[in-house]
Symmetry: C2
Subunit: 160 residues, 2 copies
DNA sequence: AAGAAAATAAGTATTATTCTTATTTAGTAA
DNA sequence: TTACTAAATAAGAATAATACTTATTTTCTT
């Protein structure tokens, strides 16, 4: 039985998830519910392994394979997304309204951001030579503020 | 010794590569030259393994590890890029002028395209809360024309 | 031509993900 | 409820992707 969520947004997503499982004929297992809930709560686009470690606290008998398998299933049914990265561990997030990703070159954290102007902009003409576009997104790279602060701390330690 | 390149663009990149190796103190080995040249010629953003298979025809003693190690080195020195994908095999390309990627949801081919308007557009303000941006790029998903044609062929076979 | 430092090949190791199978569970209908 | 069936899970084995170790070879310099 999943704990009560404080955040009503997450509560809502979970209710929606339960309904979808029913509608899609997916059995609503304890594992699926916990995996989905944990991913809902995660703001950091976790890997299967990170999710697994977090979930072990709730389901001590959980297997890593179940996490992988369940994420695959969720992806097949369009409940979650696999994120584009250059890392070799895949990372995931629950399907959300259109948004984009800032990836820190130092800590590899992935932050969400909105960019309405981009969402509304027309794609370039030359794309029709390649194919028909279904979805577009932006990835930006840089150093996150958290990392900058840490770097400054270090510099200050050296200076004083 | 690398074969003469027909394409002067590629020839030029290879010459530049040789100079850069010198400048950076990277030994210009047969393997490095062939790996770089092959990646230059590749329009398909190949994986290490694909590159390795192509290169075996030229260097029969090449080891897959050398391909991985060399690609890592090239990336460290900024000569190539690792591409963002949702696949679990990394894919690569030689560093080129700013461009973006169309990824086919069916065949996973990655096509390059230009989008000057995007390149010149300002990022959204909310990004400063996250960090400082160094690089931005677009990924679009869809079905490439090649895949569409194949699908139509199949449909026609069924109809006639 | 000789020597030092760096790079390679081969084999091994590790990491990430998937498969196999026996057991358990969710959903359903009596 | 209970019993049944199909689907899902856990555990461990297997595979795939990438990285490490070390003896040998190569590049670059002198
Ligand atoms: Mn996101
Ligand atoms: Mn490209
Ligand atoms: Zn960071
Ligand atoms: Zn295609």
């Amino acid at each position: 039985m999943s704990k009560k969520e404080k955040d009503p947004k997450i509560q809502e997503k979970i209710t929606e998830f339960k309904n979808l499982c029913n509608a899609l004929g997916l059995k609503l297992t304890h594992q699926r519910l916990e995996i989905f809930s944990e991913l809902c709560r995660s703001v950091d686009h976790p890997s299967a392994e990170i999710l697994y470690k977090r979930l072990l606290k709730r389901i001590s008998t959980l297997s890593l394979d179940t996490v992988y398998r369940t994420l695959m299933t969720f992806k097949e049914y369009g409940l979650i997304d696999k994120i584009e990265t250059t890392e070799n561990q895949s990372r995931f997030e629950v399907k959300m309204s259109t948004h984009h990703h800032f990836i820190c070159k130092n800590c590899n954290k992935i932050y969400d951001f909105d960019w309405k102007d981009f969402d509304e902009s027309a794609l370039p003409d030359n794309l029709s030579n390649i194919g028909g576009v279904i979805h577009k997104s932006v990835i930006v790279y840089g150093y996150c503020n958290a990392c900058d602060e840490k770097k400054n701390e270090k510099v200050n330690k050296l200076r004083f």
